[in-house]
């Protein structure tokens, strides 16, 4: 149909606008796809590594902090004839000869299954017998061996429990499935006996995997378990673990959607401007008998064409971007949640489909209003632009009133107690939407306020610029809103991050009071108690507290335990949100009471006086909560208990770290040097001063937000493209008007001043509007989103730099957008522009 040609040629006629729209939507889609692919890759890597170790297991038996007694496995097989059971010993190793890379050792019993059908020809060079007959035989993935430069058979020095062990790599394995290879890339497989020795878990199993296919057997197995062991469905367990990262993922997704929303504004604006520009043409079409539906369709088609091109470009950019983001996401997951080895983006069709659907959907939604507008253009032969603008100004009030609806919705979603994280984000988006509706009214207000000032400082040009802004409202309001939203997002997120950061810094100062911290990094069996005794006898040591960090895995997920062998003064390092140190201490010390961190309390809805159930070595048991303390180390929460309590209920003497308090007057650095050379030399223990540990914590904090910052910047980039595109099209559209000015004696310089004043004014307006919204977003992020995601309370720290930066950013965007049209207009001879209208 020829009408379609009209649409397409419109796009070609304004290539700049079209390309910028495409870029805008492409970036929006790219960010969404990149985040989704990244999340998806992390999830898949997790699932895969879970699958790799679980095999066909339907269930797992998991024990306490020290795992399971290996005789449980024997009893299951020998006494109870449970056939589908596989023992697993898992642990972390360091490769001292390869930059200390960390590998997971998985110890298996090759006899645990009778099936011999799984002989794979691809596992070339494999001599499985050697896994048992060769001392410390080990298998590596092909890739790993190549990466480590190992010849097979070859020796691999690993550092595990009680020092170094030499593994004999007798064969490599490879899979023609890239994902499986990926899951194996930092894994070394040994016989279970070897794994027990090198991880220091002789007599213990990490877990027993089971393939149980009928409910009766499940019940039977459950009945056979000793206290302290638990049977968990493997899917449920994997899910529970994965749930840990959910809030993190949701936050990233929401940020990526914000980028898309800004991209949506862009499409909306392009289409609106395009419809307005073509008002007369559309009226002609209507007169010639083009129906409203056809017009609607043709505008929608234009938008869809832009959207489709944007989506196609967005997919490509998204995939590239996801490779960049993956490292950041993986880093955070590793820092905060669990070990995850993911180096490869798995491009899933589903992620791409979601991105495409969102991109097209966003385009359609954004094009709805302009398409409707086009279909409503009356077939009047006469037409004036000023009429349009006065109509736009007329609707300002209506829009402002209509803003009440999303604002109320936002308030309900954000303020209603007990709301979900999703509700929080929906509320946030409603608030942004409501704000966008208010933008025109606020914009008018700002310009009106700025008018006298502009007139005074810039004279005629100032007045003209102010009027230019009001006159072009119908074309600028959405762009301004988009810029304001993007800038406010960056202001809001900035305030949130710096508030969070400051809160954590303050917390750390109080929390880390000891002078030196020594920790056993890696999974080796911790700090030798004899060593601690030796340290405690060193002159200058006032006291020592030991700590044990461990996880209780269960069907319902993972609980992090923090076992503290503290005296009452060390206990005072905790800052209590609920309860107080003085009353909590006696119960904590002697009465089996625990204290829980704020996120734990939040997620599990526990407070002082409530109880938490923990699976001890002698079965599940209730523990009283004596206090809720501030803690920013784990967003899932921590249960802290006294070493005595722990020893009463768990048989796990391991110590993860200890803190050294020095006598007054002892120089911590000097002492650290003595300690390092005298006691710690040759051990795997890491010594950090109070200051170093704080710096390390802040490093991790900053790493966590690295991806957030990337997304922030991308959103602003999209918005700047938007404002650039919109302002440029407006200015170019006014060629005739400017030609008249030029003809009447305006110098190019004056014209330049007029245009940049106008666009700068628009940028400024956006910036000014962005500040309150930014503050609002910051508060919503701090008090609603972060709380609902992680349960953290943080203090709001407002510093001017975020506001100033937002303002500068907005004005700069406006000025930047004015430069090109100003230059072009100033260079165009007035006669040319006059002739070509």
């Amino acid at each position: 149909m020829i009408l379609a040609r009209v649409s397409m040629r419109n796009l070609l006629r304004h290539p700049w606008q079209s390309i910028l729209s495409i870029v805008g939507i492409a970036l929006g889609v790219a960010v969404v796809i990149a985040i989704d692919l990244t999340n998806e890759s992390a999830r898949r890597a997790f699932k895969l590594s879970n699958q790799m170790v679980a095999g066909q297991a339907t269930h797992h038996i998991i024990g306490g902090p020290s795992g399971l007694d290996e005789t449980l496995y024997r009893d299951l097989r020998v006494e109870h004839g449970i056939r589908g059971a596989w023992p697993v010993v898992e642990g972390r190793l360091r490769l001292p000869d390869h930059d200390g890379q960390r590998f997971t050792v998985i110890g298996v019993d090759p006899f645990a299954q009778t099936s011999h059908s799984a002989i794979h020809r691809s596992t070339r060079g494999l001599s499985p017998t050697e896994l048992l007959s060769v001392h410390n035989a080990a298998l590596l993935a092909d890739d790993s061996a190549r990466r480590l430069g190992l010849t097979i058979p070859g020796e691999l020095r690993v550092h595990g429990a009680k020092g170094d062990h030499r593994l004999r790599v007798t064969a490599t394995v490879s899979s023609d499935n890239a994902l499986e290879n990926q899951a194996l890339r930092a894994v070394v497989i040994t016989d279970i006996s070897t794994a027990q020795v090198v991880t220091g878990n002789v007599g213990r199993l990490t877990r027993i995997d089971l393939e149980l296919n009928d409910p009766a057997t499940v019940t039977r197995v459950r009945g056979l378990l000793p206290p302290g062991a638990e049977l968990a469905g493997s899917a449920a367990r994997g899910n529970a673990l994965q749930q840990m990262t959910r809030a993190f993922e949701v936050n990233l997704t929401a940020l990526s959607l914000l980028a898309l929303v800004v991209g949506m504004f862009l499409i909306y604006n392009t289409m609106t401007v395009s419809v307005l520009q073509r008002h007369r043409q559309i009226a002609t079409l209507r007169t010639l008998g083009v129906g409203d539906r056809e017009l609607f369709a043709s505008v929608a088609l234009e938008a869809l064409t832009l959207g489709a091109l944007g989506v196609v470009a967005g997919i490509g950019v998204g995939i590239v971007l996801s490779h960049q983001l993956l490292g950041l996401v993986a880093q955070t997951i590793n820092d905060l949640y669990f070990r995850l080895d993911v180096k490869q983006v798995s491009v899933s069709a589903w992620s791409l489909a979601k991105g495409i659907a969102l991109g097209i959907g966003a385009t359609v939604v954004a094009a709805l209003a302009p398409a409707l507008e086009a279909s409503r253009v009356p077939p009047q032969i006469t037409y004036t632009r000023s009429g349009q603008e006065s109509a736009a100004r007329g609707s300002v009030g209506r829009l402002a009133w209509f803003a009440i609806v999303p604002c109320v919705a936002a308030a309900v979603l954000l303020l209603l107690p007990g709301g979900s994280l999703y509700a929080g984000f929906t509320g946030l988006f409603f608030a942004i939407f409501g704000f966008a509706l208010l933008t025109p009214a606020l914009l008018l207000l700002i310009v009106r306020l700025a008018h006298p000032w502009l007139a005074r400082t810039l004279g005629l040009i100032g007045r003209m610029a102010a009027r230019g802004v009001t006159e072009s409202l119908s074309r600028t309001r959405v762009t301004i809103a988009a810029l304001a939203v993007a800038v406010s997002a960056t202001v809001g997120v900035g305030i949130m991050i710096s508030s969070f950061r400051t809160t954590v810094e303050h917390w750390l100062v109080n929390y880390l009071r000891a002078d030196l911290y020594v920790s056993a990094s890696g999974s080796a069996n911790g700090v030798d108690p004899g060593l601690i005794r030796r340290v405690s006898q060193l002159p200058g040591v006032k006291s020592i507290t030991t700590a044990r960090w461990t996880n209780l895995d269960g069907a319902a997920g993972r609980t992090q335990l923090f076992v503290l062998d503290a005296q009452s003064e060390a206990f005072e390092n905790f800052q209590f949100k609920d309860g107080d140190a003085a009353s909590a201490w006696p119960r904590f010390k002697d009465r089996d009471a625990v204290i829980v961190s704020e996120p734990y309390a939040y997620h599990h809805r526990r407070g002082v006086g409530d109880t938490v159930v923990l699976r001890t070595d002698r079965g599940a048991r209730e523990f009283e909560v004596a206090g809720v303390f501030y803690d920013y180390g784990s967003d899932r929460g921590v249960v802290a208990l006294h070493r005595d309590t722990y020893d009463r209920h768990w048989s796990d003497p391991a110590i993860s770290s200890f803190a050294v308090y020095l006598d007054a007057g002892i120089d911590a650095d000097d002492f650290a040097a003595t300690l390092q050379d005298g006691v710690l030399d040759g051990t795997e223990l890491t010594l950090r001063s109070n200051r170093q540990l704080r710096a390390l914590s802040m490093d991790i904090f900053d790493r966590t937000f690295a991806i957030t910052n990337v997304l922030r910047v991308l959103t602003v980039v999209i918005a700047v493209i938007g404002i650039f595109s919109a302002l440029m099209s407006i200015q170019l559209e006014r060629g005739r008007e400017f030609a008249v000015l030029r003809a009447n004696g305006f110098t190019p310089r004056q014209l330049w001043a007029l245009v940049t004043t106008e666009t700068g004014l628009l940028g400024l307006a956006a910036g000014v509007l962005a500040l309150p919204l930014g503050l609002f977003l910051a508060l919503a992020l701090i008090f609603v989103i972060n709380r609902r995601s992680f349960g953290w309370t943080m203090q709001v720290w407002l510093t001017p730099e975020h506001f100033v930066l937002g303002l500068v950013l907005a004005v700069a965007a406006g000025l930047l957008a004015g430069i090109y049209p100003a230059l072009r207009l100033a260079r165009t001879p007035p006669s040319f522009a006059l002739r070509h209208e």
Binding site: T71, R74, F111, H116, S117, H120, S175, N177
Partner: protein, 388 residues
């Protein structure tokens, strides 16, 4: 299985399957796992193990237990059983032990061992024309599998043979009263075995030569007649059965020459309370002579050694397994001229092939013939290895 590494376990499971053979089979490149148990007995990697060089006086119950200084060892239970209404069954439960290295590894872990076990279990349901078999593997550590001399217990997980109450039979050398319990989803046995004859030492007072080479021999004795009663469960139905079982215990380090292809082994319980054990180690080259040996156990328990020339085994026909395409002998005629004994040995059903990690045919047979011109019958088991 076109997806390699479907799971780590599936993948490592092959270790067990290849375990027993792989030491011997490494030269073959591993592309084709050895199809016969021959590999087990091949004289490879036997340095450091003890060999059966001279006759040794067996002492029971001690020698019912393991001899870990030898590379391989097995405890073999077979039996022909029947229900009151004449439905016939055969069963086999074997525990194989293979040491991967001569010495146990030095390790703090209870899982560390040089001893590995494999168990085979089979039930022949003559009426149902069904043959059920299963195999399992375990290491000889942590109590997962093992053999204990007294009170006797041989087990791999929950397949086990253990001394029954009141086990020691006074005055009967090496006699055992046993309880066998094994099975899977398809078939299971629960049997009580009572020795009725003392241990029969084969070969030269228990030293059973497998070739002319010294040391290429095993220590070998049998309990040739164990009265058996209990239940057999097949196809979801439990049958009360009675009959006779046979127990072999043999240990060695190297027993087959390169020139030997495999063996045919016969255990027959004859109607006159006598038993016959015969084996033939087949030469690869038809021009070479097979190595044959055997024992005749008289009703009173006295053992006569059967030497080459004392007996002849004639294959009457053959049977090709539809599952594997391997052709096995299908019927035999055994002649012991000096004892004026002629026996035709016929499998109860043809399909008694174990297509397991190593493939062989082991099945319940019946025998009919004439002894000193009088009709004689018998039942027993035949094992055929090394057929391709």
């Amino acid at each position: 299985m076109n997806r390699p590494l479907r799971s780590l376990y599936r993948w490592t499971a092959l270790t067990a399957a290849l375990f027993i053979i792989a030491c011997a089979d490494r030269d073959a490149g591993g592309a084709q796992p050895a199809q016969s148990v021959v590999g087990t007995l091949s004289p490879v990697n036997t340095d450091g193990f003890r060999k059966a060089l001279a006759p040794a006086a067996f002492t029971f119950p001690r020698d019912h237990g393991t001899h870990p200084e030898f590379k391989t060892e097995w405890w073999y239970f077979t039996g022909n059983l029947g229900t009151a209404d004449g439905r016939r069954f055969g069963y086999q439960l074997t525990l194989f032990r293979v040491a991967v290295t001569p010495a146990p590894p030095a390790s703090a872990s209870a899982w560390a061992t040089n001893q590995t076990y494999m168990a085979h279990f089979a039930v022949t349901d003559v009426a149902g024309d069904e043959f059920y078999y299963d195999e399992r593997f375990a290491r000889g550590a942590l109590g997962l599998a093992g053999v204990r001399a007294a009170p006797f217990r041989a087990w791999l997980e929950d397949w086990r043979v253990s001394a029954a109450t009141g086990a020691a039979v006074r005055g009967c050398d090496g006699c055992l009263n046993l309880r066998i319990s094994a099975g899977n989803d398809a078939a299971a046995v629960a049997l009580f075995l009572t020795s009725t004859k003392p241990a029969a030492r084969h070969g030269d007072n228990g030293l059973s030569q497998k070739s002319a080479t010294p040391g290429n021999a095993s220590y070998y004795y049998s309990l040739t007649r164990l009265a058996t009663e209990g239940t057999i469960e097949v196809d979801g139905q439990t049958h009360a059965v009675t009959g006779q079982s046979w127990f072999d215990h043999e240990w060695s380090t190297s027993a087959l020459e390169d020139a030997q292809a495999g063996w045919d082994w016969f255990s027959l319980q004859l109607s006159g309370q006598a038993e016959l054990m015969l084996f033939r180690l087949r030469a690869r080259d038809p021009a070479d002579a097979d190595f044959v040996s055997g024992s005749y156990v008289a009703p009173d328990g006295r053992v006569s050694r059967l030497r080459p020339g004392d007996f002849a085994i004639e294959v009457l026909n053959s049977w090709t397994s539809p599952a594997t395409g391997v052709a096995y002998p299908g019927q035999w005629r055994i002649r012991i001229p000096r004892r004026r004994l002629v026996l035709d040995v016929t499998p109860l059903i043809r399909r008694q092939e174990l297509n397991s990690a190593f493939r062989y045919w082991e099945g319940a047979v019946s025998a009919t013939g004439r002894h000193r011109e009088r009709p004689i019958s018998g039942a027993g088991y035949v094992e055929l290895t090394g057929y391709h």
